[in-house]
């Protein structure tokens, strides 16, 4: 991934307006956060391949960046985004936020087709 280019991301976001698209949104501080101190807890959530439809959407900030998508009945919001996959297209947009050690803290992804479900299970 590479540092986010907000102009390019904004153009791609607009390709997803007013159509059903698949969302992957996740944040995490890691399952081992609990080992860092008695009062630290592991916090995280993810949704994958949830179908959403939004009528406006923007990327804002000076880096790290924020994204807000306005839907008919609510919002999708993400902050702390630092990197994007420059191979992203109008069919799929991958953004993420990494900490100073390169660990993923947040992922925000849109796709017109479901995200892969490779399970690794052997035939």
């Amino acid at each position: 991934m590479q540092p986010i280019s907000p102009e390019k991301v904004q153009l791609l976001l607009e390709q997803f307006f007013n159509r059903d698209v698949y969302l992957h949104l996740e944040t995490t501080n890691g399952s081992y956060a609990v080992l860092r101190g008695e009062k630290t807890i592991s916090v995280g959530s993810f949704v994958r391949n949830v179908v959403v439809r939004f009528e406006r959407g923007m990327i804002t900030g000076n880096g790290p960046y924020r994204v807000g998508l306005k839907m008919e009945h609510g919002w999708i919001y993400a902050e702390g985004l630092t990197d994007w996959e420059p191979d992203s297209t109008q069919n799929g947009l991958l953004l993420a936020g990494h900490d100073e050690e390169g660990r993923l803290m947040i992922a925000f992804q849109l796709s017109v087709t479901p995200f892969g479900t490779e399970s690794g299970e052997q035939e």
Partner: protein, 220 residues
Amino acid sequence: MKPHVLLVFPHPDDETFGLGGSIILHAQAGTPITYLCGTLGEMGRQMGSPITANRETLPHIRKQELQEACKHLGISDLRLMGYHDKTVEFEDRQAMVDRIFQVVQEIQPTIVYTYYPGHSVHPDHEAMAEATIEALERIPIENRPVLYCLAFSSNHLEVLGQPDVVVDISSVAERKMNAIKAHYTQSAKMLERYEDDRQHAELRHFLEAERYYTYRWTKA
């Protein structure tokens, strides 16, 4: 009975960090090793250093890393269970126990390694450890394989005491290091720190000895 080792862990690299040296020693003794790996670690946070993976490419990359690590460790029989990282505890537990039991019946392991339930921190670890124990409990106690469990909860020494099995792996530390390197996305950052500081406790800990608890069966 012919010796056969079975490993049951949820994430590619669990085997390497926790017991890579012991696996290499088993392989050197000519013991066949079967590894039931639960997921592809697709929700991992480590993406390599420099970052080489994203959320969508990570499972493919980790699968290849695992296959490479298995070569270094001497694991000839790798079986992927196809669960999704972080979701193992929500799966049908009986179906999981059945699948593990099926493999146990097929290969007749004499030694099994998994995590110590209640002391393995990650919910996927806990779920697979519980399922492994439940599967082994289907075997009459006198025929059960030896079960070694890894523990690393912050209170495991307090609750369980010192591990009763300590394996000196210094003779195979270099080979274990190769397996660690094979898990590039997961180990790159740690290896950078090690380059800066050869005494770095985090990695030295993995290269000197490996420690387990012999599981004491509560069900006959």
